[in-house]
Assembly symmetry: D2
Homo-oligomer: 143 residues x 4
Protein backbone atom coordinates (compact mmCIF):
# COMPACT_ATOMS: atom_id res chain seq x y z
CA UNK A 1 0.00 0.00 0.00
CA UNK A 2 1.06 3.58 -0.65
CA UNK A 3 2.48 5.24 2.48
CA UNK A 4 0.53 7.91 4.34
CA UNK A 5 1.45 11.54 3.71
CA UNK A 6 1.75 11.92 7.51
CA UNK A 7 2.95 9.28 9.98
CA UNK A 8 0.66 8.04 12.75
CA UNK A 9 2.81 10.03 15.19
CA UNK A 10 2.43 13.24 13.17
CA UNK A 11 -1.32 12.77 12.90
CA UNK A 12 -1.58 12.06 16.64
CA UNK A 13 0.41 15.18 17.44
CA UNK A 14 -1.80 17.31 15.16
CA UNK A 15 -5.00 15.88 16.69
CA UNK A 16 -3.75 16.55 20.19
CA UNK A 17 -2.85 20.16 19.32
CA UNK A 18 -6.15 20.83 17.59
CA UNK A 19 -8.54 18.84 19.82
CA UNK A 20 -6.86 18.66 23.23
CA UNK A 21 -10.21 17.88 24.88
CA UNK A 22 -10.88 14.88 22.58
CA UNK A 23 -7.51 13.37 21.71
CA UNK A 24 -5.00 13.01 24.55
CA UNK A 25 -3.03 10.21 26.21
CA UNK A 26 -5.58 7.87 27.76
CA UNK A 27 -8.54 9.08 25.65
CA UNK A 28 -9.12 5.54 24.41
CA UNK A 29 -8.46 6.19 20.70
CA UNK A 30 -5.48 4.52 18.97
CA UNK A 31 -4.23 5.07 15.41
CA UNK A 32 -3.28 1.50 14.59
CA UNK A 33 -2.48 1.23 10.92
CA UNK A 34 -2.04 4.30 8.76
CA UNK A 35 -1.57 4.17 4.97
CA UNK A 36 -2.46 6.62 2.23
CA UNK A 37 -6.27 6.83 2.27
CA UNK A 38 -6.54 3.62 4.28
CA UNK A 39 -6.45 3.73 8.08
CA UNK A 40 -7.46 1.62 11.04
CA UNK A 41 -8.44 3.23 14.34
CA UNK A 42 -9.39 1.53 17.63
CA UNK A 43 -11.65 2.80 20.39
CA UNK A 44 -11.25 1.09 23.74
CA UNK A 45 -14.43 -0.31 25.18
CA UNK A 46 -15.89 1.86 27.92
CA UNK A 47 -19.11 1.23 29.83
CA UNK A 48 -20.23 4.84 29.27
CA UNK A 49 -20.97 3.90 25.65
CA UNK A 50 -23.60 1.28 26.51
CA UNK A 51 -27.26 1.84 25.70
CA UNK A 52 -30.43 -0.21 26.55
CA UNK A 53 -30.05 -3.79 25.38
CA UNK A 54 -26.36 -3.84 26.36
CA UNK A 55 -25.12 -2.51 23.01
CA UNK A 56 -22.66 0.31 22.27
CA UNK A 57 -24.54 3.52 21.43
CA UNK A 58 -25.02 4.71 17.86
CA UNK A 59 -23.45 8.13 18.52
CA UNK A 60 -20.31 6.39 19.82
CA UNK A 61 -20.08 4.55 16.49
CA UNK A 62 -20.81 7.68 14.44
CA UNK A 63 -18.17 9.63 16.34
CA UNK A 64 -15.55 6.93 15.78
CA UNK A 65 -16.38 6.68 12.07
CA UNK A 66 -16.14 10.43 11.64
CA UNK A 67 -12.83 10.44 13.50
CA UNK A 68 -11.45 7.62 11.32
CA UNK A 69 -12.46 9.50 8.14
CA UNK A 70 -10.74 12.63 9.47
CA UNK A 71 -7.55 10.62 10.03
CA UNK A 72 -7.88 9.11 6.53
CA UNK A 73 -8.14 12.61 5.06
CA UNK A 74 -4.92 13.62 6.86
CA UNK A 75 -3.24 10.45 5.54
CA UNK A 76 -3.93 11.58 1.97
CA UNK A 77 -3.78 15.39 1.95
CA UNK A 78 -1.63 16.18 4.98
CA UNK A 79 -2.37 18.55 7.84
CA UNK A 80 -5.72 20.17 7.04
CA UNK A 81 -7.48 20.47 10.40
CA UNK A 82 -10.14 22.74 8.88
CA UNK A 83 -11.39 19.99 6.58
CA UNK A 84 -15.03 19.49 7.57
CA UNK A 85 -17.57 16.72 7.14
CA UNK A 86 -20.33 17.75 4.72
CA UNK A 87 -22.23 14.43 4.64
CA UNK A 88 -22.23 11.25 6.66
CA UNK A 89 -24.49 8.26 6.10
CA UNK A 90 -24.46 5.30 8.49
CA UNK A 91 -26.17 1.92 8.35
CA UNK A 92 -26.24 0.02 11.63
CA UNK A 93 -25.88 -3.67 10.84
CA UNK A 94 -25.44 -5.71 14.02
CA UNK A 95 -25.34 -5.25 17.76
CA UNK A 96 -21.71 -4.70 18.73
CA UNK A 97 -20.33 -6.89 21.47
CA UNK A 98 -18.94 -5.32 24.64
CA UNK A 99 -15.47 -5.08 23.14
CA UNK A 100 -13.22 -2.48 21.52
CA UNK A 101 -14.55 -0.95 18.31
CA UNK A 102 -12.32 -1.06 15.22
CA UNK A 103 -12.88 1.42 12.37
CA UNK A 104 -11.38 0.76 8.96
CA UNK A 105 -11.63 3.88 6.78
CA UNK A 106 -10.81 3.87 3.09
CA UNK A 107 -10.98 6.88 0.77
CA UNK A 108 -12.70 6.28 -2.57
CA UNK A 109 -11.98 9.71 -3.99
CA UNK A 110 -9.48 12.43 -3.12
CA UNK A 111 -10.45 15.47 -5.18
CA UNK A 112 -9.45 19.10 -5.02
CA UNK A 113 -12.63 20.07 -3.16
CA UNK A 114 -14.03 16.84 -1.75
CA UNK A 115 -12.77 13.59 -0.28
CA UNK A 116 -15.22 10.67 -0.16
CA UNK A 117 -14.68 7.50 1.82
CA UNK A 118 -16.27 4.54 3.49
CA UNK A 119 -15.72 3.29 7.02
CA UNK A 120 -16.51 -0.22 8.22
CA UNK A 121 -16.85 -0.73 11.97
CA UNK A 122 -16.17 -4.04 13.73
CA UNK A 123 -16.22 -5.36 17.25
CA UNK A 124 -12.68 -6.45 18.04
CA UNK A 125 -12.28 -10.16 17.29
CA UNK A 126 -15.18 -10.38 14.82
CA UNK A 127 -15.23 -10.29 11.01
CA UNK A 128 -18.87 -9.23 10.73
CA UNK A 129 -19.27 -5.47 10.44
CA UNK A 130 -21.44 -3.75 13.06
CA UNK A 131 -21.92 -0.59 10.99
CA UNK A 132 -20.99 0.88 7.62
CA UNK A 133 -20.49 4.57 6.92
CA UNK A 134 -19.93 6.68 3.84
CA UNK A 135 -18.78 10.23 4.34
CA UNK A 136 -17.69 13.32 2.44
CA UNK A 137 -15.19 15.88 3.67
CA UNK A 138 -14.85 19.33 2.17
CA UNK A 139 -11.22 20.38 1.73
CA UNK A 140 -10.37 24.05 2.32
CA UNK A 141 -9.57 26.01 -0.85
CA UNK A 142 -6.41 27.42 0.73
CA UNK A 143 -4.83 24.03 0.31
Amino acid sequence: MRPSVMTAEEIGKLLHEEFPQAFYPGCGLTLEDIHYGDVRVRRDFHEDHIRPGGTISGPTMMELADFAMYVAVFSAIGPQPLAVTTNLNINFLRKPTQADLIAHARLMKVGKRLAVGEVTLYSDGSDEPVAHVTSTYSIPASR
Copy 2:
Protein backbone atom coordinates in the same frame (compact mmCIF):
# COMPACT_ATOMS: atom_id res chain seq x y z
CA MET B 1 -51.18 19.24 16.26
CA ARG B 2 -52.04 15.76 17.48
CA PRO B 3 -50.89 15.18 21.08
CA SER B 4 -47.96 12.95 21.88
CA VAL B 5 -48.66 9.40 23.04
CA MET B 6 -46.38 10.14 26.03
CA THR B 7 -45.97 13.47 27.82
CA ALA B 8 -42.56 15.18 27.97
CA GLU B 9 -42.41 14.16 31.63
CA GLU B 10 -43.10 10.51 30.87
CA ILE B 11 -40.49 10.48 28.11
CA GLY B 12 -37.95 12.17 30.38
CA LYS B 13 -38.60 9.62 33.12
CA LEU B 14 -38.19 6.73 30.67
CA LEU B 15 -34.95 8.17 29.28
CA HIS B 16 -33.56 8.62 32.77
CA GLU B 17 -34.40 5.03 33.73
CA GLU B 18 -32.96 3.56 30.54
CA PHE B 19 -29.93 5.83 30.02
CA PRO B 20 -29.02 7.12 33.48
CA GLN B 21 -25.49 7.95 32.26
CA ALA B 22 -26.78 10.11 29.37
CA PHE B 23 -30.04 11.68 30.51
CA TYR B 24 -30.13 13.06 34.04
CA PRO B 25 -30.84 16.39 35.74
CA GLY B 26 -28.14 18.78 34.55
CA CYS B 27 -27.16 16.74 31.46
CA GLY B 28 -27.91 19.73 29.22
CA LEU B 29 -30.74 18.16 27.19
CA THR B 30 -34.28 19.58 27.44
CA LEU B 31 -37.47 18.20 25.87
CA GLU B 32 -39.09 21.50 24.90
CA ASP B 33 -42.10 20.83 22.75
CA ILE B 34 -43.51 17.34 22.34
CA HIS B 35 -46.33 16.48 19.93
CA TYR B 36 -47.18 13.29 18.09
CA GLY B 37 -44.25 12.68 15.72
CA ASP B 38 -43.08 16.29 16.07
CA VAL B 39 -40.69 17.23 18.85
CA ARG B 40 -38.21 19.95 19.73
CA VAL B 41 -35.18 19.25 21.88
CA ARG B 42 -32.50 21.65 23.13
CA ARG B 43 -28.89 20.96 23.97
CA ASP B 44 -27.20 23.58 26.13
CA PHE B 45 -24.01 24.99 24.70
CA HIS B 46 -20.91 23.51 26.30
CA GLU B 47 -17.32 24.31 25.38
CA ASP B 48 -16.44 20.59 25.26
CA HIS B 49 -18.32 20.42 21.98
CA ILE B 50 -16.08 22.89 20.16
CA ARG B 51 -13.76 21.75 17.37
CA PRO B 52 -11.04 23.61 15.37
CA GLY B 53 -12.46 26.73 13.78
CA GLY B 54 -14.63 27.42 16.84
CA THR B 55 -17.57 25.37 15.63
CA ILE B 56 -19.61 22.73 17.47
CA SER B 57 -18.41 19.23 16.56
CA GLY B 58 -20.22 17.07 14.04
CA PRO B 59 -20.63 14.15 16.48
CA THR B 60 -22.34 16.49 18.94
CA MET B 61 -24.87 17.36 16.22
CA MET B 62 -25.32 13.72 15.16
CA GLU B 63 -25.87 12.65 18.76
CA LEU B 64 -28.48 15.36 19.32
CA ALA B 65 -30.29 14.49 16.07
CA ASP B 66 -30.36 10.80 16.97
CA PHE B 67 -31.65 11.66 20.43
CA ALA B 68 -34.40 13.89 19.00
CA MET B 69 -35.51 11.12 16.62
CA TYR B 70 -35.61 8.69 19.54
CA VAL B 71 -37.87 11.09 21.44
CA ALA B 72 -40.05 11.52 18.32
CA VAL B 73 -40.43 7.75 18.07
CA PHE B 74 -41.60 7.62 21.71
CA SER B 75 -44.06 10.45 20.99
CA ALA B 76 -45.72 8.31 18.32
CA ILE B 77 -45.46 4.70 19.46
CA GLY B 78 -45.03 4.99 23.21
CA PRO B 79 -42.37 3.46 25.45
CA GLN B 80 -40.19 1.32 23.16
CA PRO B 81 -36.67 1.78 24.49
CA LEU B 82 -35.39 -1.08 22.32
CA ALA B 83 -36.23 0.77 19.10
CA VAL B 84 -32.89 1.14 17.31
CA THR B 85 -31.55 3.39 14.59
CA THR B 86 -30.92 1.47 11.36
CA ASN B 87 -29.88 4.41 9.16
CA LEU B 88 -28.90 8.02 9.72
CA ASN B 89 -27.89 10.48 7.02
CA ILE B 90 -26.66 13.96 7.92
CA ASN B 91 -25.82 16.98 5.78
CA PHE B 92 -23.83 19.69 7.53
CA LEU B 93 -25.01 23.02 6.16
CA ARG B 94 -23.49 25.89 8.13
CA LYS B 95 -21.09 26.51 10.98
CA PRO B 96 -23.15 26.64 14.20
CA THR B 97 -22.64 29.63 16.43
CA GLN B 98 -21.47 29.16 20.00
CA ALA B 99 -25.05 28.88 21.27
CA ASP B 100 -27.52 26.18 22.29
CA LEU B 101 -28.44 23.70 19.58
CA ILE B 102 -32.13 23.17 18.81
CA ALA B 103 -33.30 19.96 17.10
CA HIS B 104 -36.71 19.81 15.46
CA ALA B 105 -37.61 16.20 14.62
CA ARG B 106 -40.62 15.27 12.55
CA LEU B 107 -41.68 11.73 11.61
CA MET B 108 -42.61 11.22 7.96
CA LYS B 109 -43.71 7.62 8.38
CA VAL B 110 -44.75 5.52 11.36
CA GLY B 111 -45.05 1.96 10.11
CA LYS B 112 -45.30 -1.37 11.90
CA ARG B 113 -41.61 -2.12 11.41
CA LEU B 114 -39.96 1.22 10.59
CA ALA B 115 -40.30 4.86 11.57
CA VAL B 116 -38.68 7.42 9.26
CA GLY B 117 -38.13 11.04 10.13
CA GLU B 118 -36.17 14.17 9.47
CA VAL B 119 -34.42 16.40 11.99
CA THR B 120 -33.42 20.00 11.36
CA LEU B 121 -30.79 21.48 13.66
CA TYR B 122 -30.50 25.20 14.41
CA SER B 123 -28.31 27.42 16.53
CA ASP B 124 -30.59 29.06 19.07
CA GLY B 125 -31.74 32.43 17.77
CA SER B 126 -31.20 31.66 14.07
CA ASP B 127 -33.63 30.53 11.37
CA GLU B 128 -30.96 29.06 9.11
CA PRO B 129 -30.45 25.33 9.68
CA VAL B 130 -26.93 24.19 10.62
CA ALA B 131 -27.58 20.56 9.70
CA HIS B 132 -30.31 18.32 8.33
CA VAL B 133 -30.76 14.66 9.18
CA THR B 134 -32.95 11.84 7.93
CA SER B 135 -33.12 8.73 10.02
CA THR B 136 -34.85 5.35 10.24
CA TYR B 137 -35.68 3.50 13.44
CA SER B 138 -36.55 -0.19 13.54
CA ILE B 139 -39.46 -0.93 15.87
CA PRO B 140 -39.33 -4.19 17.85
CA ALA B 141 -41.79 -6.86 16.68
CA SER B 142 -42.97 -7.45 20.24
CA ARG B 143 -44.77 -4.15 20.10
Copy 3:
Protein backbone atom coordinates in the same frame (compact mmCIF):
# COMPACT_ATOMS: atom_id res chain seq x y z
CA MET C 1 -41.47 33.85 -1.71
CA ARG C 2 -38.40 35.24 -3.42
CA PRO C 3 -38.61 34.99 -7.21
CA SER C 4 -36.56 32.47 -9.15
CA VAL C 5 -33.39 33.71 -10.88
CA MET C 6 -34.74 32.10 -14.09
CA THR C 7 -38.38 31.81 -15.15
CA ALA C 8 -39.98 28.41 -15.70
CA GLU C 9 -39.84 29.14 -19.44
CA GLU C 10 -36.12 29.93 -19.36
CA ILE C 11 -35.38 26.79 -17.35
CA GLY C 12 -37.48 24.68 -19.73
CA LYS C 13 -35.65 26.12 -22.73
CA LEU C 14 -32.26 25.43 -21.14
CA LEU C 15 -33.26 21.84 -20.26
CA HIS C 16 -34.46 21.22 -23.78
CA GLU C 17 -31.22 22.54 -25.27
CA GLU C 18 -29.01 20.55 -22.93
CA PHE C 19 -31.00 17.31 -22.65
CA PRO C 20 -33.05 17.08 -25.85
CA GLN C 21 -33.48 13.32 -25.32
CA ALA C 22 -34.94 13.78 -21.80
CA PHE C 23 -36.82 17.07 -21.80
CA TYR C 24 -38.99 17.83 -24.81
CA PRO C 25 -42.63 18.61 -25.51
CA GLY C 26 -44.60 15.52 -24.49
CA CYS C 27 -41.86 14.06 -22.25
CA GLY C 28 -44.27 14.04 -19.32
CA LEU C 29 -42.36 16.49 -17.08
CA THR C 30 -43.90 19.85 -16.15
CA LEU C 31 -42.30 22.73 -14.24
CA GLU C 32 -45.32 23.82 -12.21
CA ASP C 33 -44.24 26.33 -9.63
CA ILE C 34 -40.80 27.91 -9.68
CA HIS C 35 -39.48 30.18 -6.92
CA TYR C 36 -35.97 30.86 -5.68
CA GLY C 37 -34.76 27.54 -4.25
CA ASP C 38 -38.30 26.19 -4.05
CA VAL C 39 -39.80 24.40 -7.05
CA ARG C 40 -42.59 21.96 -7.85
CA VAL C 41 -42.31 19.54 -10.76
CA ARG C 42 -44.86 17.03 -12.04
CA ARG C 43 -44.27 13.74 -13.81
CA ASP C 44 -47.26 12.36 -15.70
CA PHE C 45 -48.23 8.82 -14.78
CA HIS C 46 -47.09 6.28 -17.34
CA GLU C 47 -47.53 2.51 -17.12
CA ASP C 48 -43.85 1.95 -18.02
CA HIS C 49 -42.99 3.07 -14.50
CA ILE C 50 -44.90 0.27 -12.75
CA ARG C 51 -43.08 -2.50 -10.90
CA PRO C 52 -44.37 -5.73 -9.21
CA GLY C 53 -47.07 -4.94 -6.67
CA GLY C 54 -48.52 -2.22 -8.93
CA THR C 55 -46.30 0.54 -7.58
CA ILE C 56 -44.21 3.14 -9.44
CA SER C 57 -40.57 2.06 -9.63
CA GLY C 58 -37.94 3.44 -7.29
CA PRO C 59 -35.68 4.62 -10.15
CA THR C 60 -38.58 6.64 -11.58
CA MET C 61 -38.86 8.43 -8.22
CA MET C 62 -35.09 8.92 -7.91
CA GLU C 63 -34.91 10.33 -11.43
CA LEU C 64 -37.74 12.78 -10.74
CA ALA C 65 -36.19 13.88 -7.44
CA ASP C 66 -32.81 14.45 -9.08
CA PHE C 67 -34.48 16.40 -11.87
CA ALA C 68 -36.40 18.58 -9.39
CA MET C 69 -33.17 19.36 -7.49
CA TYR C 70 -31.50 20.31 -10.78
CA VAL C 71 -34.34 22.72 -11.51
CA ALA C 72 -34.11 24.11 -7.96
CA VAL C 73 -30.38 24.74 -8.46
CA PHE C 74 -31.16 26.68 -11.66
CA SER C 75 -33.81 28.69 -9.79
CA ALA C 76 -31.16 29.87 -7.34
CA ILE C 77 -27.89 30.17 -9.27
CA GLY C 78 -29.05 30.58 -12.85
CA PRO C 79 -27.98 28.61 -15.93
CA GLN C 80 -25.32 26.14 -14.73
CA PRO C 81 -25.98 22.98 -16.73
CA LEU C 82 -22.65 21.50 -15.60
CA ALA C 83 -23.74 21.46 -11.95
CA VAL C 84 -23.58 17.78 -10.94
CA THR C 85 -25.08 15.69 -8.17
CA THR C 86 -22.45 14.53 -5.70
CA ASN C 87 -24.75 12.80 -3.20
CA LEU C 88 -28.37 11.67 -3.17
CA ASN C 89 -30.11 9.89 -0.30
CA ILE C 90 -33.68 8.61 -0.68
CA ASN C 91 -36.08 7.09 1.82
CA PHE C 92 -39.07 5.33 0.28
CA LEU C 93 -42.03 5.89 2.60
CA ARG C 94 -45.24 4.62 1.00
CA LYS C 95 -46.42 2.87 -2.12
CA PRO C 96 -47.35 5.56 -4.66
CA THR C 97 -50.76 5.33 -6.23
CA GLN C 98 -51.11 5.00 -10.00
CA ALA C 99 -51.23 8.78 -10.43
CA ASP C 100 -48.91 11.61 -11.42
CA LEU C 101 -45.90 12.11 -9.17
CA ILE C 102 -45.32 15.57 -7.69
CA ALA C 103 -41.84 16.60 -6.52
CA HIS C 104 -41.40 19.56 -4.20
CA ALA C 105 -37.72 20.55 -4.00
CA ARG C 106 -36.41 23.08 -1.52
CA LEU C 107 -32.80 24.20 -1.18
CA MET C 108 -31.46 24.34 2.39
CA LYS C 109 -28.10 25.80 1.45
CA VAL C 110 -26.79 27.62 -1.59
CA GLY C 111 -23.04 27.95 -1.12
CA LYS C 112 -20.22 28.84 -3.48
CA ARG C 113 -19.29 25.20 -4.05
CA LEU C 114 -22.29 23.17 -2.92
CA ALA C 115 -26.06 23.41 -2.97
CA VAL C 116 -27.97 21.12 -0.59
CA GLY C 117 -31.68 20.49 -0.74
CA GLU C 118 -34.50 18.18 0.11
CA VAL C 119 -37.22 16.86 -2.18
CA THR C 120 -40.53 15.45 -1.02
CA LEU C 121 -42.43 13.27 -3.50
CA TYR C 122 -46.22 12.87 -3.47
CA SER C 123 -48.80 11.02 -5.48
CA ASP C 124 -51.06 13.66 -7.01
CA GLY C 125 -54.06 14.22 -4.76
CA SER C 126 -52.43 12.93 -1.56
CA ASP C 127 -50.75 14.79 1.31
CA GLU C 128 -48.74 11.83 2.51
CA PRO C 129 -45.23 11.75 1.04
CA VAL C 130 -44.25 8.64 -0.92
CA ALA C 131 -40.52 9.36 -0.72
CA HIS C 132 -38.09 11.89 0.74
CA VAL C 133 -34.75 12.82 -0.78
CA THR C 134 -31.78 14.90 0.29
CA SER C 135 -29.25 15.78 -2.33
CA THR C 136 -26.07 17.78 -2.86
CA TYR C 137 -25.04 19.44 -6.11
CA SER C 138 -21.51 20.61 -6.82
CA ILE C 139 -21.41 24.00 -8.51
CA PRO C 140 -18.71 24.59 -11.16
CA ALA C 141 -15.92 26.91 -10.04
CA SER C 142 -16.21 28.93 -13.26
CA ARG C 143 -19.45 30.38 -11.93
Copy 4:
Protein backbone atom coordinates in the same frame (compact mmCIF):
# COMPACT_ATOMS: atom_id res chain seq x y z
CA MET D 1 -17.46 -17.89 -2.43
CA ARG D 2 -20.75 -19.38 -1.27
CA PRO D 3 -23.06 -20.21 -4.20
CA SER D 4 -26.14 -18.12 -4.92
CA VAL D 5 -29.49 -19.45 -3.74
CA MET D 6 -30.76 -18.93 -7.33
CA THR D 7 -28.73 -19.36 -10.53
CA ALA D 8 -28.23 -16.42 -12.89
CA GLU D 9 -30.68 -18.14 -15.26
CA GLU D 10 -33.34 -18.47 -12.56
CA ILE D 11 -32.93 -14.84 -11.54
CA GLY D 12 -33.11 -13.71 -15.17
CA LYS D 13 -36.30 -15.71 -15.70
CA LEU D 14 -37.88 -14.25 -12.57
CA LEU D 15 -36.93 -10.69 -13.58
CA HIS D 16 -38.38 -11.21 -17.04
CA GLU D 17 -41.66 -12.55 -15.64
CA GLU D 18 -42.00 -9.78 -13.07
CA PHE D 19 -40.65 -6.81 -15.06
CA PRO D 20 -41.20 -7.69 -18.73
CA GLN D 21 -40.96 -4.01 -19.69
CA ALA D 22 -37.53 -3.60 -18.01
CA PHE D 23 -35.75 -6.93 -18.31
CA TYR D 24 -35.99 -8.72 -21.64
CA PRO D 25 -33.61 -10.05 -24.32
CA GLY D 26 -31.81 -7.01 -25.70
CA CYS D 27 -32.55 -4.72 -22.74
CA GLY D 28 -28.83 -4.14 -22.23
CA LEU D 29 -28.57 -5.65 -18.72
CA THR D 30 -26.46 -8.78 -18.14
CA LEU D 31 -26.13 -10.83 -14.93
CA GLU D 32 -22.43 -11.64 -15.16
CA ASP D 33 -21.28 -13.21 -11.94
CA ILE D 34 -23.75 -14.35 -9.31
CA HIS D 35 -22.72 -15.64 -5.86
CA TYR D 36 -24.49 -15.58 -2.51
CA GLY D 37 -24.82 -11.89 -1.63
CA ASP D 38 -22.17 -10.90 -4.16
CA VAL D 39 -23.18 -10.18 -7.76
CA ARG D 40 -21.84 -8.36 -10.81
CA VAL D 41 -24.20 -6.82 -13.36
CA ARG D 42 -23.36 -5.04 -16.61
CA ARG D 43 -25.31 -2.33 -18.42
CA ASP D 44 -24.41 -1.84 -22.08
CA PHE D 45 -23.47 1.68 -23.01
CA HIS D 46 -26.28 3.52 -24.78
CA GLU D 47 -26.18 7.12 -25.98
CA ASP D 48 -29.58 7.80 -24.39
CA HIS D 49 -27.85 7.80 -21.00
CA ILE D 50 -25.56 10.74 -21.78
CA ARG D 51 -26.02 14.09 -20.04
CA PRO D 52 -24.32 17.51 -20.58
CA GLY D 53 -20.55 17.19 -20.33
CA GLY D 54 -20.62 13.82 -22.10
CA THR D 55 -21.12 11.77 -18.94
CA ILE D 56 -23.62 9.00 -18.20
CA SER D 57 -26.61 10.37 -16.28
CA GLY D 58 -26.94 9.97 -12.52
CA PRO D 59 -30.36 8.30 -12.76
CA THR D 60 -28.88 5.67 -15.09
CA MET D 61 -26.32 4.87 -12.42
CA MET D 62 -28.90 4.87 -9.60
CA GLU D 63 -31.17 2.56 -11.58
CA LEU D 64 -28.33 0.12 -12.26
CA ALA D 65 -27.25 0.14 -8.60
CA ASP D 66 -30.80 -0.50 -7.43
CA PHE D 67 -31.15 -3.31 -9.95
CA ALA D 68 -27.86 -4.90 -8.83
CA MET D 69 -28.97 -4.78 -5.18
CA TYR D 70 -32.26 -6.42 -6.16
CA VAL D 71 -30.34 -9.24 -7.85
CA ALA D 72 -28.08 -9.55 -4.79
CA VAL D 73 -31.14 -9.90 -2.56
CA PHE D 74 -32.44 -12.73 -4.80
CA SER D 75 -29.02 -14.40 -4.63
CA ALA D 76 -29.30 -14.59 -0.84
CA ILE D 77 -32.98 -15.07 -0.01
CA GLY D 78 -34.39 -16.55 -3.20
CA PRO D 79 -37.39 -15.40 -5.24
CA GLN D 80 -38.89 -12.46 -3.34
CA PRO D 81 -40.02 -10.04 -6.07
CA LEU D 82 -41.94 -7.96 -3.51
CA ALA D 83 -38.77 -7.03 -1.63
CA VAL D 84 -38.61 -3.23 -1.82
CA THR D 85 -35.90 -0.62 -1.42
CA THR D 86 -36.40 1.44 1.72
CA ASN D 87 -33.22 3.53 1.51
CA LEU D 88 -30.59 4.25 -1.12
CA ASN D 89 -27.62 6.56 -0.70
CA ILE D 90 -25.31 7.31 -3.63
CA ASN D 91 -22.04 9.21 -3.85
CA PHE D 92 -20.96 10.17 -7.36
CA LEU D 93 -17.17 9.94 -7.48
CA ARG D 94 -15.92 10.38 -11.05
CA LYS D 95 -17.23 11.06 -14.50
CA PRO D 96 -17.90 7.70 -16.17
CA THR D 97 -16.37 7.13 -19.57
CA GLN D 98 -18.59 6.37 -22.55
CA ALA D 99 -18.38 2.63 -21.89
CA ASP D 100 -20.47 -0.12 -20.30
CA LEU D 101 -21.24 0.34 -16.62
CA ILE D 102 -20.35 -2.50 -14.23
CA ALA D 103 -22.12 -2.78 -10.86
CA HIS D 104 -20.62 -4.94 -8.11
CA ALA D 105 -23.16 -5.42 -5.31
CA ARG D 106 -22.28 -7.05 -2.01
CA LEU D 107 -24.67 -7.63 0.89
CA MET D 108 -23.35 -6.63 4.33
CA LYS D 109 -26.34 -7.93 6.26
CA VAL D 110 -29.11 -10.37 5.45
CA GLY D 111 -31.58 -10.16 8.31
CA LYS D 112 -35.14 -11.39 8.72
CA ARG D 113 -36.61 -7.97 7.90
CA LEU D 114 -33.84 -6.02 6.18
CA ALA D 115 -30.98 -6.67 3.77
CA VAL D 116 -28.26 -4.00 3.58
CA GLY D 117 -25.62 -3.84 0.89
CA GLU D 118 -23.18 -1.68 -0.98
CA VAL D 119 -22.76 -1.34 -4.72
CA THR D 120 -19.65 -0.03 -6.43
CA LEU D 121 -20.04 1.17 -10.03
CA TYR D 122 -17.21 1.17 -12.56
CA SER D 123 -16.76 2.10 -16.18
CA ASP D 124 -15.78 -1.08 -18.00
CA GLY D 125 -12.00 -1.31 -18.20
CA SER D 126 -11.28 0.97 -15.24
CA ASP D 127 -10.49 0.16 -11.60
CA GLU D 128 -11.55 3.54 -10.26
CA PRO D 129 -15.14 3.56 -9.05
CA VAL D 130 -17.50 6.11 -10.66
CA ALA D 131 -20.10 5.87 -7.89
CA HIS D 132 -20.71 4.10 -4.59
CA VAL D 133 -24.12 3.16 -3.23
CA THR D 134 -25.44 1.77 0.02
CA SER D 135 -28.98 0.48 0.05
CA THR D 136 -31.50 -1.26 2.28
CA TYR D 137 -34.21 -3.63 1.11
CA SER D 138 -37.21 -4.58 3.22
CA ILE D 139 -38.02 -8.29 3.02
CA PRO D 140 -41.70 -9.29 3.07
CA ALA D 141 -42.85 -10.92 6.31
CA SER D 142 -44.50 -13.76 4.37
CA ARG D 143 -41.05 -15.11 3.64
